[in-house]
């Protein structure tokens, strides 16, 4: 299981591993060359002090001949050669560092891009019950901050760790080559420094977390206040709110300050270690110069190397503790990535469905033993209209979700045009059905783009035909940017009814064999609803239609009517047959009948009242 988790991420690095390796190799060579600079300086200083230029070492011949310095140079030429070597070494190692930077960026960003796309794609293909249970905020958090933590790990921390290791691996041989005793001395504080840093950051991690928590609390109070500002004003609680905020604000400040104090302590103590190390090296080195065991040039080289190595080591403790975060993030991401996707292997049919729906004995439960639908049977011919009535929670919407294969039914059979639903590809089924929900989701794109979700290549005339049928064309045209108005924060604010009608137009534009309206006109006023129903009536026969509704006016147009309760069909038939039955449907109609009488009697009382006044 554990290996599974990391395998997902290892696979992501496919195609980038060579680039990554190039980066590390470039860095290794770069450091090796950069370490040549203090050596050159060391030999130069020793030569200057000895006042005689030694022979040009073999590896510098090429450079020497290039700037026309002879093999046995005089002192000036020798120094010129040294300067040229320093600049050349730095320039080449600098270029290699550039290669490192570029390759690291290409590799790490490539890996992260693959990760983002994989997570995005995966989320879209996870089954509906995963999304039912998941919390949107938490998922978004994982897709963004955890990916970012992982990115920092591959882009920065891996490189930092390799850098520290490479530094040590390359500098140690040089140091021991120069002087064994000095080499041991210069390494004396490294383990202390390293362990100190790791321990400190492990401990301080808790504090980082408490700062984050304090910030979250501050943000919560702030957000609550700003979203509820009307309530705050209406109850004149500005003072209390300010006090509440002041407490959080001060807590955040103090926690942060606490962290600062500890960081101050850490940096001054670790500076103490680092600088004492450098000071000891200088004084002991100087003593050995006095005793003649060490040249001044070598002392300089040691001081320079120490300065180059000691700061990255100090930093390494921080990097290692931060890397711990990456492990947590990888785990949180793999919790998503290891959930299996919806099945996709079923075949698609080559043609458009006619729209016959057949169900027999269908049962479904989200949790075993708690059925949402039981023994549902129905039959619809292509082009027919079915109305489903029933109180909230009776299973109406679940029935729709089963048809879309958002969930898979556990018992019974569902057939479209005689084909078993579970043997058909989900995407194919969904392409044959349009649904309009009570609270439709619109993308934050233009209205036109939202409509074309139904049919991407629809021309303007088709779009307008659909919006006219859904009685939304006029409203859209009234927006200052018309069909190009953006939906959402940056654009127009749509009322619930407008959203429902746009969703309806989107569904009609798709022109599917099967159309499902799930309480889809609940926020539309009755005038408009009548117009829409009329428009739908004109299209009768084009789609097999399932309408879930509360209003009797909607139900009257249906060929077949089902009354659902507690997941079971308690009545089925058409308006006439159900009126004749003693049951819920009849009761509904009776209430409506008595309602009319009620209004009439209201008016009668009213007339009497007026008469009395008169």
């Amino acid at each position: 299981m554990l290996s599974n988790k990391f395998k997902v991420f290892w696979d992501l690095s496919k195609g980038q591993r060579v680039t990554y390796l190039t980066a590390i190799v470039a860095m290794a060579i770069g450091y090796l060359l950069m370490f040549g600079v203090p050596l050159v300086v060391k030999f130069s200083i020793d030569a200057i002090l000895a006042d005689s230029a030694p022979e040009v070492p073999g590896w510098l011949y090429l450079l020497a001949s290039w700037i026309s310095v002879e093999a046995r140079p005089d002192m000036f030429d020798y120094l010129l050669l040294a300067a040229a070597a320093i600049i050349l070494l730095t320039a080449v190692s600098g270029s290699l560092f550039y290669v490192r930077g570029r390759c690291t960026a290409v590799a790490s960003e490539g890996i992260v891009r693959a990760l983002r796309e994989k997570v995005f794609h995966h989320l879209e293909h996870l089954p509906a019950d995963f999304h039912d249970k998941a919390d949107t905020g938490d998922l978004v958090q994982r897709c963004t901050s955890d990916v970012e933590t992982f990115r920092v790990f591959v882009a920065v921390q891996v490189i930092e760790i390799s850098r520290a290791i490479l530094l040590l691996l390359t500098v140690l041989p040089i140091l021991f080559f120069l002087d064994t005793a000095m080499a041991f001395l210069s390494m004396a504080s490294m383990p202390v420094l390293f362990i100190f840093a790791v321990l400190f950051f492990l401990k301080v991690k808790v504090l980082f977390k408490s700062v984050d928590e304090a910030e979250a609390k501050l943000t919560t109070v702030l957000q609550e206040n700003l979203t509820g500002i009307r309530v705050v004003r209406a109850f004149a609680q500005q003072e209390t709110e300010s006090e509440k905020f002041a407490v959080r604000n001060a807590a955040f400040r103090d926690k942060n300050m606490h962290l600062m104090r500890l960081l101050g302590l850490y940096f001054s103590l670790s500076d103490l270690i680092c600088m004492t190390q450098l000071g000891a090296l200088l004084i002991v080195g100087a003593y050995w110069v006095q005793t003649g065991d060490l040249s001044i040039g070598t002392l300089f080289a040691f001081l320079t190397y120490e300065g180059m190595v000691i700061w990255p080591i100090r930093h390494l403790g921080r990097v290692l503790t931060d890397s711990g975060k990456a492990v947590v993030s990888v785990q949180r991401l793999s919790e998503i990535l290891l959930v299996p996707q919806e099945t996709q292997h079923e075949p698609e049919l080559p043609h458009r469905l006619k729209g016959a729906i057949y169900m027999s004995g269908v049962s479904f439960a989200f949790d075993a033993g708690n059925p949402v639908l039981e023994d549902i049977s129905l039959h619809l011919n292509p082009g027919e209209i079915l109305a489903i009535l029933g109180p909230p929670g009776s299973g109406k919407s679940t029935l729709v979700q089963l048809l879309l294969r958002l969930y898979d039914y556990q018992q019974g059979t569902i057939q479209l045009d005689g084909q078993e639903l579970s043997s058909l590809n989900r995407k194919y089924i969904r392409s044959q059905i349009s649904t309009v929900l009570q609270e439709p989701f619109l993308y934050s794109a233009s209205i036109a783009d939202n409509l074309r979700v139904g049919k991407m290549n629809a021309d303007d005339l088709e779009v307008e035909a659909a919006t006219r049928a859904a009685c939304i064309h006029d409203s859209i045209s009234a927006f200052s940017s018309g069909y190009d108005s953006m939906v959402g924060e940056r654009g127009v604010t749509l009322s619930g009814g407008q959203r429902q009608r746009i969703a309806l137009a989107r569904a009609l534009l798709k022109d599917p064999p099967i159309l499902i309206l799930d309480d889809a006109l609940s926020a539309v006023d009755t005038d408009t609803e009548a117009k829409i129903l009329n428009a739908l009536h004109h299209r009768k026969g084009r789609h097999t239609t399932i309408i879930i509704a509360h209003r009797l006016s909607t139900v009257l147009a249906a060929d077949k009517i089902l009354v659902l309760n507690h997941g079971r069909i308690i009545q089925s038939g058409n308006h006439e047959s159900l009126m004749a039955e003693d049951g819920m449907y009849q009761k509904l109609c009776q209430i409506q009948g008595s309602l009319e009488t009620g209004i009439a009697s209201d008016l009668a009382i009213n007339n009497k009242g007026v008469n009395q006044h008169g």
Partner: protein, 628 residues
């Protein structure tokens, strides 16, 4: 769309980032620096510590120089202890300074951001709603969180690096020039080139970093949308299309991230190579001079060390310079927030009246502004209203409400019902006409007094974090538990609260997520009951409550309305019917007005709405009952 995913880069708020990035807006920084200057001692200490840090860093190569010269010239005759002591003294100075600047810088950073936030919050509590209309909650949140942190970082650490960098460069320059003028000038000649390159690069690096941030927030938005809309995506088989769109975003992200990293990767070798030029210069010129006896070996070593450290501050300074330019838009935004003036506030006269009243003896009959506390009559006189740059939402409204009267308002969405409420509560003021409280224009009364006499229940009830009891006593924090329970009972909330594990101590989460919409409405209903307001406003307050509970509430309602002025925007017939008067508002005008019976007789708009809704309601009730 969720407010939580607001992002500056995706929202146009009139502050053009690019316009702010040219030059240095000194006036802006002066204002912000005022926040740091409150901590004069800390600022002084930070500057001192920054300087001593730089000075000790300059001192180490000098000590090294003296040690080398000592052993080189005097050999073993010299005692190294004094140098060791000097070195250690500077180590101590350095460590104390480092600890000190983090300490004092930390105080400045945390306190400045705290203070800016405090002032911002205070002002937000007083700004009128018209300010909120054009700024999403996310915009305000961004100012109060990330902007505060960013600016206080600049103030503390930017100031630190400025002082440290300048002291360090000046110190090194002086040391070099003092040790050897010619050699010093030679090394310093590299400086201008390096400074120019650094500033240019840092600006580019920060610009591409902003592009990365921008794209990143679009990616976040994309994830959010794909998760929220997953069912729609599946139903319309949009997966491939979404993948394609997301793919172009990640491509953008890849391009700008790599560009940003490459810029940084290019900067490093250039600085290193320029630095090595200085090292080379120092070695050749210094070497010749050592041999000529003009400078000592120690001086040469010191020069060589200085050339490595001399350029570090430049990188830091260039970074802060670029960051300050980039942050100027943020600075302007937050200052605009702190300095924004409320369009609705007590006039100078009212303020004077409040002072006078507070000086005179306490009189419970009088409000804080010296007028009678009891409200007998509210009058709308020819009131019209338009939101900024919009057409009139309300036209010529005339309306008188007496104490004890309940008014129901019905009409289509967008007709102006909620605006009427907003005007009554003085969340907005009329653009024409006036609203009189017992004959006095309410603009001449205390805003705080009016609003503390309000009780409001809104359709989307706002629940604060804390316990249910806290939420109910929100308007009267000092209420006893008995009062809380009584209010909850009247609101029909007592039963469901008792069913919760912790009862009234039940913690409600952020925004009250664990409660249903109906439960939230009942709690805010109880909140209004407990506040015992003189004016009660209910805006679709019971729309999410089931029918049975609603009937139950009706009983409490009568008690609640008694002796108050109430304005009820409602959907439910039962609520509307019982009102003393019903207003029908369409397109900003009162088109019908009267009792239920009168309006039914008119057979106008009200009759139509009533009939339609009655059918709806009955069907819903019937299906619920039949199911039960």
């Amino acid at each position: 769309m969720s407010e939580a995913y607001y992002d500056d880069d995706n929202y146009s708020d009139g502050f053009d980032e690019n316009a702010f990035q040219k030059g240095m807006k000194l006036a802006l920084w002066k204002k912000l620096f005022g926040y740091a200057l409150i901590y004069k001692f800390e600022v002084g200490m930070l500057i001192l510590c920054a300087m001593t840090t730089a000075i000790s860093e300059v001192a180490f190569p000098l000590i090294t120089r003296n040690v080398i010269d000592a052993v080189n010239i005097h050999g073993s005759n010299i005692n190294l202890i004094q140098y060791a002591l000097a070195y250690f003294a500077f180590i101590l100075l350095l460590c104390i300074s480092v600890g000190g600047f983090i300490w004092f810088g930390g105080i400045i950073r945390t306190h400045v951001s705290h203070d800016i936030r405090r002032d911002g919050f205070r002002n937000l509590q007083n700004l009128s709603f018209s300010y909120y209309d054009y700024r999403p909650v996310g915009w305000l949140m961004a100012r109060m969180t990330s902007d505060c942190e960013r600016l206080s970082n600049i103030l503390a650490w930017g100031m630190l690096d400025l002082v440290w960098g300048i002291t360090m460069m000046a110190g090194i320059a002086i040391a070099m020039l003092y040790m050897n003028m010619f050699l010093g000038l030679a090394v310093l000649s590299v400086l201008p080139v390096l400074a120019w390159i650094s500033v240019t690069f840092q600006k580019r690096i920060l610009t591409s970093a902003r592009q990365v941030r921008k794209t990143n927030s679009r990616i976040t938005g994309s994830f959010n949308e794909s998760i929220m809309g997953v069912q729609t995506t599946k139903a319309f088989v949009k997966e491939a299309e979404n993948d394609r769109q997301f793919g172009s975003l990640t491509d953008n992200m890849y391009d700008s991230s790599v560009l940003n990293a490459v810029q940084a990767a290019l900067y490093l070798p250039i600085v290193l190579t320029l630095g090595s030029l200085a090292t080379g210069l120092a070695l050749v010129i210094g070497g010749i001079q050592v041999m000529g006896g003009i400078v000592t070996a120690g001086t040469l070593v010191a020069f060589l060390t200085y050339t490595r450290h001399f350029f570090e501050p430049i990188e830091e300074l260039a970074h802060w310079f670029a960051e300050m330019q980039m942050a100027q838009a943020s600075a302007e935004r937050i200052i605009s927030l702190i300095e924004a003036e409320s369009e609705i506030q007590d006039s100078a006269e009212v303020v004077r009246a409040i002072q006078r009243t507070s000086l005179s003896a306490q009189n419970h009959e009088l409000a804080i502004d010296g007028y009678a506390d009891r409200i007998n009559k509210i009058e709308f006189k020819n009131v019209s209203f338009a939101y900024a740059n919009g057409s009139n939402v309300l036209n010529d409204i005339n309306l008188t409400i007496h104490q004890g009267e309940s008014i129901a308002v019905v009409g289509s969405t967008g007709g102006g019902k909620s605006t009427l409420v907003n005007l009554l509560c003085r969340f907005y003021e009329p653009t024409a006409g006036e609203i009189l409280i017992d004959g006095v224009d309410y603009r001449n009364r205390s805003l705080h007094w009016l609003q503390s006499n309000l009780g409001i229940v809104l359709q989307s009830s706002h629940i604060f974090g804390g316990t249910i009891a806290d939420n109910i006593r929100y308007g009267k924090p000092q209420s006893s538990m008995v009062e809380v329970i009584n209010a909850a009972r009247l609101a029909g909330a007592d039963d469901f609260i008792r069913e919760m594990k912790a009862g009234y101590d039940h913690q409600v989460g952020e925004g009250g997520n664990k409660l249903s919409a109906g439960q939230k409405q009942l709690i805010s209903f109880a909140r209004a009951i407990l506040a015992k307001p003189q004016i009660l406003v209910m805006d679709e307050a019971t729309s999410s409550v089931d029918t049975v509970t609603e009937q139950y509430i009706q009983q409490g309602m009568q008690q609640l309305l008694d002796g108050r002025i109430s304005l009820i925007i409602a959907h439910r017939l039962s609520t509307i019917r019982n009102a003393d008067r019903i207003l029908v508002i369409e397109k900003g005008r009162i088109i019908e007005q009267g009792s239920h019976l009168q309006l039914m007789a008119e057979q106008g708009r009200y009759h139509f709405l009533y009939t339609q809704q009655k059918i709806d309601d009955t069907v819903k009730t019937a299906s619920t009952l039949a199911a039960g």
